[in-house]
């Protein structure tokens, strides 16, 4: 069973941008909105040096980390190109104009 948490509407997130959300005492989550209005959620940490991905430039379905410009695929959390590493993803869905994200079990265990 998945706990879905309502975090707002599409309009709350700038296009080609991101917002952060904190659920309980768990790691901050970055919720991205792409140019084609898809929503993705990742733990707000680059696999490289934990840069806040929510502050990066969103292009296509990737985000460039603001610290060292690693490109992270929003769907998989995987670093692109030569770089290696993966940021945990969080399930997210849009329903009746609301954005719902899954309660992050993985980060709960890690925290």
């Amino acid at each position: 069973m998945t706990d879905w948490i309502d975090i707002g509407t599409l309009a709350d997130i700038p296009q080609r941008g991101a917002r952060t959300v904190q659920i309980g005492g768990e790691k901050e989550i970055a919720v991205f909105r792409t140019g084609d209005d898809q929503i993705f959620a990742l733990v707000n940490e680059c696999p490289h040096k934990k840069g806040p991905l929510s502050q990066g430039i969103v292009h296509g379905h990737s985000v460039a980390c603001p610290l060292h410009n690693w490109n992270i695929a929003l769907k998989t959390g995987e670093a692109q190109g030569e770089d290696k590493g993966c940021t945990p993803t969080i399930a997210v869905k849009q329903e009746d104009g609301r954005i719902l994200i899954a309660r992050p079990v993985a980060t709960k265990a890690a925290a």
């Binding site: 998945t2 706990d3 879905w4 709350d12 917002r19 952060t20």
Partner: protein, 840 residues
């Protein structure tokens, strides 16, 4: 992990694929959406794009992907998206109808039509069978148990990934790979990387016996065992056992190996059932002539499913040759396929293996062997009648292409025989050879990119058509676009073909465009473009919304071209410029308020001290630009910090921007016994004039009151050194990684002239330097004489530049901090609010 490309069968009803009434072209139906089928279509389109109406049937749910790159996907080095060869847009753009998840099940040669599994019947004028091959499943008991798979398509990779995932719960899980050939070893390597304990069973005495001799195979086996795999050679499988699912494999000698996954990779067989049922002439494969035509003149076949001149091929290189001959035939250019000599280059876990031709030895064959045990290198070249007929390389395969080239050309190697084994460098003239010369020595048909079958001649042609960067070559002819192992070769071909133009030639702005910075800026002005999407549309950007390189550049170029008109795109700003503060490595920010000319007062200092205490900032530092930097501020607190600083009269110091940073000053004639002019006062005036302006890169100014130069003006972008008779103006200095002392621009006699020249120079830099180019490299590029000509010699031009700068500044000098403190863009500083929690 889930791999989907969102494709349901493209057509849901037969009506959609009926021939449009006005389309009288011949209909080419392709059975098989794999590498051979699509490559054949690509070759055909390259020759005569409009000649045929094309429909492709695929059994898999995907678009055309690079099957030989499944190994890196399994190993986690690539994603499925990375190995797509042709995406949906390619099918759409070329008017190709793609029918996925629906294999063709019958051919009716009499009525010239095919029928698919789902019952679609479509007529053809020409039919191309590209069904590839089927994995061979050894006929042992238990072969049909769940958990027994092959390694052939994306579905198999998904099964392996699922097994590895399930295995994690029990500390890794165990897998058996049956088959110690190329495919089996790649599967074993990927599963090992995914955390499984892998046993490889190989029925022959040595691994990869078709590609490697005994010595190389032994080296490979030792290396793989060193990586934790168990390799059993001479292992004959008796059965796969298990209750309802795989539990293990039993060998004929009674050995039992427990496993939750069994991968059968013992070989492939041409997939000929469809052709055989249609009554075509079939031997080991579908028999074709030199133009890939089967025993039915309207049916062609290509790839692993065919038999040509008695040969069946299971490697990728012959496929490219076949597709070329086939496309030539279909467009009335009958070149004909002459068969292929094949080579294998394999990389498993960083182990390089290469083989080509015949290395079985035999009468009249001589072996030349080099072993270097400490480097783990083994090389063997087989020579017959002074010609290379085979080669096996292990550990160092750099010369593989060269040996293969000698072999294919049948070149007489008598003269270089003594040095042959040491490789191309030595054999071609002693000593270490310039890698460029090595590439130059390759013949035009030498294969450069094995993944995509691209020859040196094709790479050169692509470059000559205008590709002047690695990315452009990758986009143009696909060389180096897959596994990347030939990148060095491609770069050398670029250097050879373009000479010095590789460096000085038009560099593209980024991967998203074929235009350079200067082209883009020129077109923005010439076509009066007003937004980033408009630029991308008109200049044919290849990505939907650019990348982190081009977006900030375009945003700046538009901002510079259209002051007061263009609306800044926050999402195209680097984080610091979007947040108006400097991000630090822990994700907090540092805040630097402006101190005009480095001057401050008790009120400002008190406000800074209060902020430090109120927001618990862990550090305050005096910067090199004569101001104070407050560290450790959280993004949520930034607006409140700015409000407090604003209240004391301070504004943003833009310490975070590609913009004017500071104007550094010394105390000057007001206090200093050496001072010649009021450098502090001039510094303040200069900063009041220039603050807030966005630039191609950061921009620093300094004013020194005498030639002792305490403000270090001669390593600034614009430096003023006061002298008794006036002001020396210096430009293009830099104190960064590459220290550069300024060039003297000119000397002026009044403060106002110094300010005017400063404004004009700044505007010239803003308008003409490329984004992220500091003044130092810009001046090195255009020459200081050019700058002098524009600023010093051309009075009218200077005045116009100055006017444009001051006009632009009207719109720039709003304090961004005040706007944010008043609530603008508050979403950038606040978390989203989880408003309700619902379990379902």
């Amino acid at each position: 992990m889930e791999f989907q490309d969102g494709l349901s069968p493209v057509t849901d009803s037969e009506e959609e694929i009926l021939v449009p009434a006005d389309d009288v072209r011949e209909h080419l139906v392709v059975v098989g959406n794999g590498m051979a089928g699509c490559r054949a279509v690509e070759e055909l389109l390259a020759r005569d794009a409009g000649r045929y109406r094309v429909t492709i049937f695929g059994a898999e749910p995907h678009v055309n992907y690079n099957r030989i790159m499944l190994s890196p996907v399994l190993a986690g080095e690539k994603t499925f998206d990375d190995i797509i060869i042709n995406d949906r847009a390619w099918y759409d753009d070329n008017g190709i109808t793609l029918i996925t998840s629906d294999p063709v099940s019958a051919i009716d040669r009499t009525h010239k039509s095919v029928t698919s599994q789902s019952g679609r019947t479509i007529g053809y004028d020409k039919l191309l069978i590209a069904t590839g091959s089927d994995p061979f499943i050894i006929p042992v008991p238990g072969k049909d148990l769940p958990g027994v798979i092959s390694f052939r398509d994306m579905k198999d990779v998904d099964s392996m990934l699922a097994a590895a995932e399930a295995g994690k719960a029990v500390g890794g899980g165990e897998a058996v790979v049956i088959g110690g050939g190329l495919l089996g070893l790649e599967a074993a390597h990927g599963l090992t990387l995914r955390g499984m304990k892998v046993t490889v069973l190989h029925i022959m005495p040595t691994l990869m016996e078709r590609q490697l001799d005994e010595a190389a195979a032994w080296l490979l086996k030792s290396a793989l065992e060193g990586r934790g795999q168990t390799i059993l050679t001479g292992a004959d499988t008796a059965e796969v056992y298990g209750q309802g699912k795989v539990e293990g494999v039993r060998l004929k000698d009674g050995t039992q190996i427990p496993a939750s996954l069994v991968v059968m990779a013992v070989g492939i067989r041409p997939s000929v059932a469809l052709a055989r049922e249609a009554g075509l002439d079939v031997g080991r494969g579908i028999k074709v002539d030199d133009h890939m035509v089967t025993s039915d003149a309207d049916i062609l076949a290509v790839g692993e499913c065919v038999e040509h001149d008695g040969n069946v091929y299971g490697l990728v290189a012959p496929l490219w040759d076949m597709c070329r001959s086939l496309a030539d035939g279909l467009t009335d250019r009958h070149t004909g396929y002459k068969g292929s000599v094949t080579s294998t280059k394999l990389k498993v876990a960083g182990l390089d293996v290469f083989s080509a031709g015949d290395f079985s030895g035999g009468e009249g064959c001589e072996d030349i062997v080099l072993r270097d045990a400490s480097r783990g290198v083994y090389k063997r070249v087989v020579v017959k009648d002074d010609r290379v007929v085979g080669a096996v390389l292990y550990g160092d395969t750099a010369d593989g292409g060269w040996y293969f080239d000698l072999l294919k050309r049948g070149e007489n190697v008598a003269d270089i025989r003594d040095l042959l084994i040491f490789g191309q460098a030595f054999a071609s003239g002693g000593g270490a050879m310039d890698p460029k010369a090595a590439v130059a020595a390759l013949s035009d048909d030498a294969e450069i990119c094995g993944c995509n079958g691209v020859s040196k001649g094709q790479v050169v042609a692509c470059i000559e058509k205008g590709a002047c960067s690695l990315d452009a070559v990758r986009a143009g002819c696909k060389a180096s676009a897959s596994c990347g192992s030939c990148t060095g070769l491609v770069e050398n071909i670029l250097a050879l073909t373009l000479g010095d133009d590789v460096q000085s030639g038009p560099r593209t702005m980024c991967k998203c465009t074929s235009f350079g910075h200067d082209d883009v800026r020129r077109e923005i002005v010439a076509q009066d473009m007003r937004s980033i999407p408009e630029v991308m549309q008109k200049l044919h950007w290849s990505t939907p919304d650019g990348c982190s390189s081009c977006r900030p550049a375009l945003n700046y170029y538009l901002l510079c071209a259209l002051p007061g008109v263009y609306v800044d795109d926050q999402q195209s700003r680097f984080v610091n410029e979007r947040m108006h503060a400097n991000i630090q490595k822990d994700g907090t920010y540092s805040v630097v308020p402006r101190m005009w000319g480095g001057l401050t007062n008790p009120r400002e200092l008190r406000a800074i001290a209060d902020v430090v205490e109120k927001y618990d900032a862990p550090m305050v530092k005096v910067t090199g630009g004569q101001r104070l930097d407050i560290f450790g501020i959280k993004k949520e607190d930034l607006p409140a910090v700015w409000a407090d600083l604003n209240a004391a009269g301070m504004v943003s110091g833009h310490a975070y921007g590609k913009s004017l940073r500071t104007v550094k000053t010394c105390v000057g004639s007001e206090w200093c016994r050496f001072g010649t002019q009021d450098s502090t006062g001039l510094g303040v005036k200069t900063e009041r004039m220039t603050w807030g302006s966005w630039m191609p890169h950061k921009f620093k100014i300094a004013v020194s009151g005498c030639p002792r130069n305490c403000a270090e003006a001669t390593i600034k972008d614009f430096g003023i050194v006061c002298v008794d008779s006036g002001y020396e103006l210096h430009v293009g200095g830099n104190g960064g990684i590459h220290v550069r002392v300024t060039d003297l621009l000119c000397k002026v006699s009044t403060e106002q002239e110094a300010l005017d020249y400063c404004a004009a120079f700044t505007q010239l830099y803003r308008e003409e330097a490329r984004y992220l180019e500091r003044t130092a490299p810009w001046i090195e590029r255009v020459g200081v004489d050019y700058v002098k000509q524009r600023i010093v010699e051309d009075d009218t031009g200077r005045e116009a530049l100055r006017a444009r700068f001051l006009f632009s500044q009207q719109f720039m000098q709003d304090d961004p901090w005040a706007e944010r403190a008043a609530g603008a863009n508050s979403d950038l500083h606040q978390h989203l609010d989880p408003i309700s929690i619902a379990a379902e």
